[in-house]
């Protein structure tokens, strides 16, 4: 039952309210209970008579007080709830099915909270529960999965969305055996063709409620390159309002650090579900783009990965006929130009100039011998990763290169003279192409019937010829040969690039072959013919939150599966590579339209919004209790049992009991805070959002500040917490960053500000706080994994465990151990430069530069420093005297770190070496 914002969970109890008038009447009718009073003067009273026979009535205000108190109690027991959310009541087994797709990722925490709510309710009602992700592959014993809700609450923490979408068809038959009385379906809000059927099936089984988020889902279509700009179509599922998102192109900068290369605001007009995002970048930057994503949205749908298709290689074309007057169609370069131009930057200039432009590919169409320096230059260029693509022709043959010996710019030795088949002056038919061998990069390409070859240059049948042939004619003679030289390669088409010797340049196969050679990029979606028969290995996999992670052990997938594009556990979105080619498999494929899921009328829809539901029972009961207290007090006063000064005392005590003053306000404007931080030494810590961790960080830095004040000239003021991406980090020399697995992914701005902080001399102390005993930081613990996830996006240099001669070991105290609450494994700092040398007679290497910007450990330092307000240590460290010693060393380490932060490598200065030597007794 609902009244405005208040609902009652046990409304039938409100009937008791009918009894209120009766109660009031009774209270009025019955005189207050008599006091028994011993009184010697009673003899004087005997014979007296009450003048007024009506009893001393309960006064009206006391009656009102009691009525309100009892009313409040009745309301309280009817369990009033403010802003009631949908409370799912019911009996019997409860199935919670989740569309744990990328579209849920953005609101995953809300979903999890909601599920937890439901589980808590189910636990109270003692219902068996099962939580299922529709994105998982169904198991055969699915229907036996019901268990107590408390089990699921524990397991829920490890539930994460997947980057693919659910396949309801898979589940359609599996769920038929289900014995559930209620199904709650967490929809991700996206419509799918098989959804209606699945809903029907579920509805036929049990009572179905749908939970849907109000969060808009925005998805990016794969990137296309048009007129040199990156285009992607943004689609959203709720199109009623105007909306504005920021689209960023992200890729490595010249130093290899991933950063925002460009961004653009995209506006959705009200009513428009789609909008086009165009990121215009100079080609140098555009070639670096690895992904385009929407800022501050953690969803795989808001990330679109780029692959070879984004890259426009620079191709330098050289033909023998540049000066000839021949018709364009006969030109050696005409077909090449046409094939290359759409997807590459074609350079046609002098060879020396072309090399300065550093093209990825150089094409020689029927070019013979070059002079010695040119040969040398090109050879060097190949070895550094260039691809030299050569086409045969009369000039090549007549120049006679590579015929008597291996030529550095040819993959195979050639035989003098060409071979002509099927021409007017020769025997036999024109030759067809043989199907590509499995090892060939062309494997799987469909060979059109009408491609035939009239002439070719023949290769010398050297022993290693077979290994270098990647395409051949149906008589086994080589058509294309290839040899790797250094990091590059030389590829020779044994026919001309014009139609003189074959009609291959006219066919689509020619373009496909160039594509396979990674010379041109594919311009459209992957088709099965492109990739048929190949095995593709995922190198990077996109998770549901839109983070691209490297994979180590993922097994390869076949090209057909890749082309089919049916994402699932076996085919996760990400980057797939095969030899030199890379294909990005995005969550949203070209021409996929996402639309909002609509549900049939009558479907029970629940809201996902975090329930601001507040049970008011406690408040009502409290209110009633306070009233009853007042009533007790008033009754005592009225009946004369409470007289004089004592009533005052009781009133004060009662008031103190009722009122608990708990107000604590800190109000300081940002500017004041910044000024304060700039004028003082302030230690800072990262606010993680986990209140307990933040509290430990704060009291830890408080303790360290106090110790610094006692022991050193550093006199810090109380520490502050900073919100990443929000606060100006440049004010703080030292940032303590405890890692919790609850960290939200960093926003782009946060990453940018952190990187700037690190580059400009900031210092971050990462602490995974788990005392990771397994040795290496990362992977083995949840916090370690989280740290890796964070650190991947930061500008962190190469690390090494603190070497024994590191400045940190002698910045203030001489230390070789760095304990916190744990005496963990190594603590990592920036690796010393390779050329650091040890000078004779000095125990330390010359490490004068490179103050480490980060320090990474797992020893939970803050907890060992933490003090209470009264200055006592908050958390135990170790046991007994050893523990005290460990704490002392933890504090000394903290002092050293701060000294190091403040003074840099000052202690590495050789001036102090003699004194240090003296102290070290060397």
């Amino acid at each position: 039952m609902t009244f405005g914002a208040i609902a009652f969970l046990s409304p039938w109890l409100l009937i008791a309210g009918l009894a209120l008038p009766i109660l009031i009447w009774l209270l009025r009718a019955i005189p207050p209970a008599p006091i028994r009073q011993r009184f010697p003067g009673i003899t004087l009273l005997l014979g007296l008579r009450d003048k007024d026979s009506t009893p001393d009535r309960t006064p009206w205000w006391l009656l009102l007080l009691r009525a309100v108190a009892i009313g409040a109690a009745i309301l309280a027991f009817a369990e009033p709830v403010l802003n009631p959310s949908d409370r799912v009541a019911g009996r019997g087994a409860l199935l919670i099915g989740m569309d744990a797709s990328w579209a849920s990722a953005q609101s995953w925490q809300m979903r999890k909270d909601k599920v937890e709510n439901l589980l808590n309710e189910a636990e109270q009602d003692n219902r068996p529960v099962m939580v299922v992700k529709w994105t998982d592959t169904p198991t055969s014993d699915f229907e036996n999965g019901f268990s107590a809700a408390s089990n699921w609450i524990d397991r829920l923490q490890s539930f994460h969305p997947n980057s693919w979408e659910p396949n309801y068809d898979q589940w359609l038959d599996i769920v038929t055996n289900l014995e559930a009385s209620q199904i709650i379906w967490f929809s991700d809000g996206i419509n799918r063709s098989d959804r209606a059927a699945f809903l029907n099936r579920l509805t036929s089984l049990a009572d179905v409620s749908i939970v849907q988020s109000d969060t808009n889902v925005v998805a990016l279509s794969p990137i296309t390159v048009q007129d040199g700009a990156l285009n992607t179509t943004l689609t959203r599922i709720h199109s009623d309002t105007m909306d504005n998102v920021r689209l960023s192109a992200i890729g490595p900068d010249p130093t290899g650090i991933t950063r925002k290369l460009g961004s653009v605001d995209v506006v959705f007009d009200a009513g428009n579900a789609q909008s086009l995002g165009v990121v215009e970048l100079p080609i140098e930057l555009r070639n670096r783009v690895t992904q385009v994503s929407i800022d501050d949205v953690n969803s795989a749908g808001s990330v679109v990965l780029g692959d070879d298709s984004l890259r426009r290689r620079k191709v330098a074309l050289f033909g023998s006929d540049r000066a000839s007057e021949a018709s364009a169609l006969l030109s050696e370069l005409h077909y090449l130009r046409n094939a290359l131009q759409p997807t590459t930057e074609v350079i046609e200039t002098e060879l020396s100039e072309a090399l300065v432009a550093n093209p990825e590919v150089i094409v020689f169409a029927d070019i013979g011998e070059l002079n010695e320096t040119e040969t040398q230059d090109i050879q060097t260029w190949i070895e550094q990763g260039g691809t030299l693509l050569r086409f045969a022709g009369p000039n090549l043959i007549s120049s006679g290169i590579g015929q008597s010996e291996n030529h550095p710019l040819l993959p195979v030795r050639l035989r003098s003279g060409g071979r002509s088949v099927g021409g007017a002056m020769s025997w036999g038919e024109p030759r067809k192409l043989q199907d590509f061998a499995k090892e060939s990069p062309f494997f799987g390409l469909k060979i059109p019937d009408d491609v035939d070859v009239n002439s070719q240059v023949m290769a010398q049948p050297d022993p290693d010829l077979a290994a270098r042939v990647i395409a051949s004619l149906d008589d086994g003679t080589p058509l294309v040969t290839s040899q790797n030289i250094g990091q590059g390669r030389v590829v020779l088409f044994h026919v001309t690039s014009s139609t003189k010797w074959s009609n291959l340049p006219l066919s689509g196969l020619f373009v496909q072959m160039l594509e396979r050679l990674a010379i041109t990029a594919k311009t459209s979606a992957v088709t099965s013919s492109d990739v048929a028969g190949t095995i593709w290995t995922p190198t990077h996999v996109l998770d549901a939150y839109g983070a691209l992670g490297e994979t180590q052990s993922a097994s390869g997938v076949s090209g057909e599966l890749l082309a089919a594009g049916q994402l699932g556990p076996e085919l996760q979105p990400g980057i797939y590579t095969n030899a030199d080619r890379a294909i990005a498999l995005n969550v949203i494929q070209t021409d996929r339209q996402i639309t909002s899921a609509t549900w049939p009328i009558g479907t029970n829809l629940l809201s996902l919004s975090p329930s601001s539901e507040r049970a008011l029972k406690a408040e009502f009961l409290q209110f009633a209790f306070v009233l009853l207290l007042i009533d007790v007090f008033a009754t005592l006063v009225l009946s004369g049992r409470l007289r004089g000064a004592r009533s005052g005392q009781i009133a004060v005590i009662a008031l103190l009991c009722v009122i608990s003053a708990n107000s604590k306000s800190f109000a300081q404007s940002d500017e004041d805070g910044a000024l304060f931080a700039a004028n003082n030494t302030v230690l800072a810590y990262v606010i993680t959002g986990d209140a307990r961790v933040d509290e430990v960080s704060h009291s830890g830095l408080d303790g360290l500040s106090a110790e610094l004040y006692l022991r050193t000239n550093i006199e810090p003021v109380p520490p502050v917490g900073v919100v990443l991406g929000n606060d100006d980090l440049s004010l703080y020399p030292f940032l303590y960053w405890p890692i919790t697995d609850k960290h939200q992914a960093l926003s782009i701005d946060a990453v940018a500000s952190l990187n700037q902080y690190l580059r400009n001399g900031g210092f971050i102390m990462f602490d995974t706080r788990d005392g990771n005993q397994s040795g290496a930081i990362g992977r083995s613990t949840p916090n370690g994994r989280k740290l890796q996830q964070i650190a991947r996006r930061l500008d962190i240099p190469r690390l090494e465990p603190i070497p024994t001669d590191h400045v940190l070991t002698r910045a203030f105290y001489l230390l070789q151990v760095f304990p916190g609450r744990y005496i963990g494994p190594d603590v990592w700092v920036e690796a010393a430069p390779e050329n650091a040398e040890q000078v004779e007679g000095i125990p330390f290497r010359n490490l004068n530069d490179g103050v480490t910007p980060v320090l990474i450990g797992a020893n939970d330092w803050a907890a060992s420093w933490a003090i209470t307000e009264s200055g006592r240590f908050k958390y135990p460290v170790g046991r007994g005297a050893n523990g005290e010693r460990q704490r002392e060393f933890a504090i000394r380490f903290g002092v050293n770190v701060l000294m190091y932060v403040m003074t840099g490598n000052y202690k590495s200065d050789q001036v102090h070496v003699p004194a240090l030597l003296d102290r070290l007794g060397q």
Binding site: P31, P32, A33, P34, I35, R36, Q37, R38, F39, P40, G41, I42, T43, L44, L45, L46, L48, D50, K51, D52, S53, T54, P55, D56, L638, S639, G640, R643
Partner: protein, 298 residues
């Protein structure tokens, strides 16, 4: 409080002794009553039995030879007899109400009426005894005596007073002519027996004081609402629904009784005093001291 308080003779004497310490020895004004034969330290301004020298007189026939003061007679030719001043002692009897009604105090910080009355009586007894008067209790059939041992006995008797009924009345005892009686009570008992008992005591040619000890609540009647009043032994009870409406009537009835007591006292030449337990006990003591010193205003 009264139940918890241990009243032992030693306690009581200590309390009473303390109270008596601040006063000069009280000499009860001797009354020149012919019939009184009791010897005491009060000179009668005439020759008689006593310790103080009064006069020498010439011996006449009939005087016992042993009565002749030979040292005086040796200075002259006549025989002289040494006469002492006739001294008489006052007899003071106390009655402390032993009824349960006395055993009441409205507040834990206030003394019960009975303890106050007991201390008051004993203090006066000590003071009188020191002055050589004879003291006794009305409830004690033995004659009044003076001296430390008598004080001990009185203290023991007072401490041993148990509550028997709600209200008690002064017992009858044959009192020496011209002696005094001090009755300490709340005088809350029934009026008729009370008047009878007091009159009988007063009729024996005895002067005295009525001291009425009252609790503050008995004076002000601060009750409200529905109250069931009970006597201390629950023999009487009275219920009212609106106690506050009875206050005026109660106070009026109390005043009437006090007037009646005062009238009764005046008729028999007694004096009457009301003491409130929340005022200082010294005031009551001082009043009693004065009243005893000056004697009954006849």
């Amino acid at each position: 409080m009264n139940d918890e308080q241990i009243i032992t003779p030693a306690h009581l004497r200590a309390d009473a002794g303390q109270l008596a310490a601040g006063f000069p020895a009280l000499l009860a004004r001797a009354q020149h009553l012919v019939a009184s034969l009791n010897l005491g330290s009060h000179g009668r301004k005439r020759a008689g039995v006593g310790d103080e020298f009064w006069q020498y007189r010439p011996a006449i026939s009939g005087d016992s030879r042993s009565a002749i003061d030979w040292r005086r007679s040796a200075r002259t030719d006549a025989q002289f007899i040494r006469q002492m001043e006739w001294q008489s002692a006052q007899t003071v009897h106390f009655w402390v109400d032993s009824g349960a009604s006395m055993d009441f105090s409205s507040d834990a910080n206030l003394e019960t009426k009975s303890s106050l009355a007991t201390v008051l009586a004993l203090a006066l007894a000590i003071l009188l005894s020191r002055a050589g008067e004879r003291v006794g209790l009305l409830s004690d059939p033995r004659p009044a005596k003076s001296g430390e041992s008598q004080i001990q006995k009185i203290a023991q008797t007072l401490a041993a007073i148990g509550e028997k009924s709600d209200y008690a009345y002064p017992p009858q005892k044959a009192l020496p002519n011209g002696s005094r009686a001090i009755l300490i009570s709340d005088f809350m008992g029934e009026w008729e027996p009370l008047v009878r008992a007091i009159s009988k005591t007063a009729d024996q040619n005895v002067s005295g004081c009525l001291v009425q000890v009252l609790d503050p609540t008995e004076l002000s009647f601060p009750f409200k609402g529905r109250v069931i009043f009970e006597s201390m032994k629950s023999s009487l009870n009275f219920e009212t629904l609106r106690a506050n409406s009875l206050r005026d009537e109660y106070i009026q009835k109390l005043a009437e009784r006090q007037d009646a007591l005062r009238t009764l006292a005046r008729k028999s030449g007694w004096r009457y005093y009301t003491h409130n337990t929340d005022s200082a006990v010294q005031s009551a003591f001082l009043w009693l001291y004065n009243a005893t010193e000056q004697g009954a205003a006849r």
